[in-house]
Amino acid sequence: MSEPILVARELQKDYPMNGETVHALRGVSLRIDRGEYVAIVGPSGCGKSTLLQLLGGIDVASSGSVELLGTRLDTLSDRELTHLRLTRLGFVFQRFHLLPVLSARENVELPMAEAGLRPAERRLRARELLEYVGLGSRVEHRATQLSGGEMQRVAIARALANRPAVLLADEPTGELDAGTGQEIVELFRRVNRDGSTLVVVTHDDHLAREASRVVHLLDGRIRSD
């Protein structure tokens, strides 16, 4: 039997909006095993990104629970949760969110520096990761000197920096043209093939088709899995 990495039980998330309560998630349960490549799809506003944020411990559920490698996230303090995100999870965002004043290498080094890796060690790993995502020749370029596709590659390298148990990506091709998006799709395929567990929220059919499992969300509920 496969080892579960992420387990969500009866997740509900409500937001207050203009004096009313929006039910973003209405009892979502999900189990993700090691090595899986899961795509979460659905129309805008169905709760995909909210689910990803709850799975990644960057938001708190109104009810229900999330377990990462057997640890319930709602039992952790803010400091413990931050450390868990740093060491066990990798995040890729639609808008890359690289630090523009840093080079590609420095951006990748950032989570490793936060985790306390020695400078020489993290420099070496950052170079290896940038080679891995195909940016070996752009190591010292500033984020602002890179194209959208290159920035997303750097973001993927940054997400892999501390060897996370799961890589969570929110619309990673949303800001890219079709050609560049396809390169990212292929990169994700390779990342998964090399052993990483992936959970990707996407509208992109190409990206969803690459996944080994597709979870359809509708109105805050899982329609199909």
């Binding site: 944020q53 990644g56 960057i58 400091r79 868990l84 840093l102 950032l110 520096a113």
Partner: protein, 397 residues
């Protein structure tokens, strides 16, 4: 990456904005430094001036300090002899101030005259030629402005006249003297034409020889630590005289300048408030602009402490650069302001309002560092409290 390097890089994102802010902080820091220098500088400069020749105690007629050419001591030689017998006293000398005329062609020039005892004087430094000998009743010393007005140089003879006394309508006494040296009188205001002769000559010119008059007696105590004790002893021995140590004079001076000092504190505080507001505003704008970035950093596991450190680092770099520029600017402006203020009539030219000292600079530096920290508090709190999920949602829409 070090916190300071991080701060530098962050500021480099908006170079023009950062430069303008730096300029503002530098101006506020310069003002603060000038005010700190001003608040303590006058006292110190005054003390330095009084101690410039090493004489720590002044004796004068009652109510005449710092110096009065009208009132005078009588029986100066007896007082001096008594002082010189005191084993705690190293030297004592009398000074007689008088108004004189000097003749340049057909013109009479008003001069300030000092009768001194060259072996014990606290008034001047020789800049050219020689000092007077003790018994040199035919020699005279000139300040640079006096030499220019009298068109006299070393070795020339000049004619000095005691002032005509309008009350008794007696013509002044005239003496022809030879210029022995050029001197800088330390208490003279800028451009003051002064001459110095031995005490006996000046007493004759000022018609004070019969009563052995002097305006002031200066005393050098052997041991600096004994000054107050010696001054107390002199007060008992000479109850009819005013006796002040340099510390007493500085204290009196400080009392008189209390409003001046308060003003400098107020202006200094205002400049600090300006600096705090400037840094806080810039950092708050920066943090608000970067909330998405901060939320991302928090999402990928960067701790609140690191975020706070980064905000403080940016504030620290701003403060550090601003303070460095401000100190340079403050020193330059202090130099020019000092030149303006010391050109006021009646002020000794060697007096300084702004005195740069290591402890003044370090005090201003510490105050500015605290300013930077205080200014970073709100933006750092803002950055640390940024809600991750809500900010990322807002960024995505």
């Amino acid at each position: 990456m070090s916190a300071l390097a991080w701060g530098m890089k962050s500021l480099a994102r908006h170079p023009l904005r950062s430069l303008l802010s730096l300029a503002g902080i530098a101006v506020a820091a310069a003002m603060l430094l000038d005010m700190v220098m001003l608040s303590g500088g006058i006292d110190q400069s005054f003390a330095q001036l009084l101690l410039s020749r090493g004489y720590q105690i002044r004796l004068s007629p009652k109510g005449t300090l710092p110096f009065d050419t009208e009132a005078s001591l009588r029986g100066t030689s007896a007082i001096l002899a008594s002082l010189r017998r005191d084993p705690a006293i190293d030297a004592a000398g009398a000074v007689l101030g008088a108004s004189l005329y000097g003749r340049s062609g057909d013109t009479l020039i008003t001069l300030v005259g000092y009768g001194i005892q060259p072996q014990a004087q606290a008034l001047y430094q020789v800049t050219a030629g020689n000092d007077l000998e003790s018994g040199d009743t035919l020699g005279v010393l000139l300040s640079e402005p006096a030499a220019q007005l009298l068109k006299a140089g070393l070795g020339d003879s000049i004619s000095l006249l005691g002032r005509l006394d309008p009350q008794v309508a007696v013509a002044g006494i005239a003496r022809r003297l030879v210029v022995r040296g050029m001197v800088r009188f330390v208490y003279d205001y800028r451009g003051q034409p002064s001459v110095g002769t031995v005490l006996a000559t000046m007493q004759r010119l000022a018609r004070g020889d019969a009563e052995d008059r002097a305006s002031l007696i200066v005393v050098k105590v052997r041991d600096d630590r004994a000054v107050e004790r010696v001054a107390a002893g002199l007060r008992q021995r000479f109850p009819r005289l005013e006796i002040f140590s340099v510390a007493d004079l500085v204290a009196h001076f400080r009392e008189r300048l209390v409003y001046f000092r308060q003003l400098s504190y107020i202006l200094g505080s205002m400049s600090l408030v300006v600096a705090v507001l400037l840094i806080a505003t810039l950092l708050t704008i920066t943090v608000n602009e970067r909330l998405g970035e901060i939320a991302t950093l928090r999402a990928i596991g960067v701790s609140r402490a690191t975020i706070v450190r980064q905000v403080f680092a940016e504030g620290a770099v701003l403060t550090l650069l601003g303070a460095t520029l401000g100190i340079l600017l403050g020193l330059v402006t202090a130099h020019y302001l000092d030149a303006i203020l010391t050109s006021f009539p009646g002020l000794p030219a060697s007096f300084s309002f702004f005195v740069p000292r290591a402890n003044t600079l370090s005090r201003a530096g510490v105050i500015l560092a605290l300013t930077g920290s205080v200014a970073g508090l709100y933006p750092a709190w803002l950055a640390a409290r940024a809600p991750i999920a809500a900010t990322l949602r807002a960024e995505a829409t």
